[in-house]
């Protein structure tokens, strides 16, 4: 899994490539936690490069949502591919997370 962090005011975009699963969850969580600790609580995960996720990966995403919201921000998803969307839907994530077709839409969703 590769992670690239980019500041796109007023949000922070975390571009993820590869799988979000039990083998990569710790790395992903650590990266997202660093951003929240640094005060970047308006987070966006660009998942357009992620084609596989499992329950352990989803738990990492959920932990980040809770932390970001507790800190006054949010964690939004962009560019979710169909196989991942199917798992998000089945796991109830689409009912509690905001999803956008692309990063531009997700960035625009945060008030400037």
């Amino acid at each position: 899994m590769d992670i690239v962090v980019e500041q796109r005011a007023p949000a922070t975009v975390v571009r993820i490539s590869g799988s979000v699963d039990g083998l990569t969850a710790d790395t992903l969580m650590a990266t997202l936690q660093q951003q929240i600790d640094a005060g970047n609580t308006r987070l966006i995960a660009d998942l357009s490069g992620v084609s596989y996720t499992s329950s352990a990966g989803l738990r990492a995403l959920l932990a980040t949502v809770k932390q970001a919201r507790s800190a006054g921000g949010d964690f939004r998803l962009a560019g979710v591919l169909p196989p991942v969307h199917k798992v998000l839907e089945m796991s109830g994530f689409t009912t509690i997370l905001k999803l956008y077709p692309d990063v531009d839409g997700a960035v625009a969703s945060y008030p400037a």
Binding site: D21, G22, Y52, M90, S91
Partner: protein
């Protein structure tokens, strides 16, 4: 002092409710066999209980396919249970028993007798758990002992179609009513990696009769229950659940046994998508040289 050995991950296969769609588990089974990936327990619900039981008893995928083709046909549903129907419409006169089923249960029992006969859970080569739903309390029941035939019959007691079935003195209905994909059983039994093969019920394109309306409403209930349960189990598990949800690309209905080959192929394809990660999780070689992989 050497570090304690990391315990081997226990793998469970959970096959959820889904009538003919559950045959996709045979595609999964073939892929796991080919890859030399063994499982430590199998859990089945409703239609999935047939395949879970067959696997646990040591039937291979081809035998199981032939077995289900011969047993799962319209003969099991064409005989009406007129006594039960009369008691439903004239309950005082015909002494309504507290439950009913439109279809006579005997042909189903005859069909189940061929593969399962008097075999019990003690005859399995893999730990097997079959889920049903207690009629009186609505609670999920996990059946892990006794006659397999009784457990399967209880697990597939589709409401209004077949009467509930008595197991250990309790009337049981379809396991789908309490948990269409009983991942919780695998969690409770100590599984680490859970292969969860589940199916959502398709919605009819058009609702043209009271029956199809009833099926539609039932699908709404069960699909929402499926997702609600899975959401919780997904968060509650300490390790990993791999959701194997085949995409059939077309509706697969209750007696579409002519679609078996397609259903099995879709099950295999859905499993293949998880193989790279599954092999990594289990510490197996991730290259294509799979024939030498040790069977677990």
């Amino acid at each position: 002092m050497s570090a304690p050995a990391v315990p081997r991950k226990r793998v469970a296969l959970v096959i959820g409710a889904g009538s003919v769609k559950c045959a996709a588990a045979l595609g999964l089974w073939k892929v796991l066999k080919r890859e030399g990936i063994g499982i430590d327990m199998v859990v089945g619900c409703s239609g999935g209980s047939l395949y879970a039981a067959a696997m646990a008893l040591g039937y291979d995928a081809e035998e199981t396919e032939a077995m289900t083709l011969s047993m799962w046909n319209r003969k099991v549903t064409e005989r009406r249970d007129y006594g039960s129907l009369l008691s439903a419409f004239l309950p005082k006169l015909f002494k309504f028993a507290g439950h009913f089923g439109m279809v006579h249960g005997e042909p189903l029992i005859e069909a189940l007798r061929k593969p399962f006969g008097e075999k019990t859970f003690a005859d399995t080569i893999l730990p097997l758990h079959i889920t049903a739903t207690e009629l009186a309390s609505g609670q999920q029941a996990t059946l892990s002992s006794g006659r397999i035939l009784d457990a399967v019959r209880a697990s597939i007691a589709i409401p209004y179609i077949w009467s509930p079935w008595e197991v250990d003195g309790k009337l049981m209905l379809d396991g789908c009513l309490s948990a269409p994909l009983p991942v919780d059983v695998a969690i409770k039994e100590g599984a680490d990696v859970i292969l969860a093969m589940g199916f959502e019920s398709p919605y009819p394109r058009r609702i043209r009769s009271a029956t199809s309306y009833a099926f539609h409403v039932n699908s709404i209930y069960t699909n929402n229950l499926f997702r609600a349960n899975y959401s919780f189990h997904n968060l509650a598990h300490h390790a990993d659940i791999l959701p194997i949800v085949p995409d059939f690309g077309e509706p697969v209905n209750l007696f579409d046994t002519h679609k078996f080959a397609h259903v099995i192929a879709c099950g295999a394809r859905a499993t293949e998508e998880h193989l790279p990660y599954l092999r990594q999780l289990l510490g197996l070689p991730t290259d294509a040289a799979t024939e030498t992989s040790p069977a677990r």
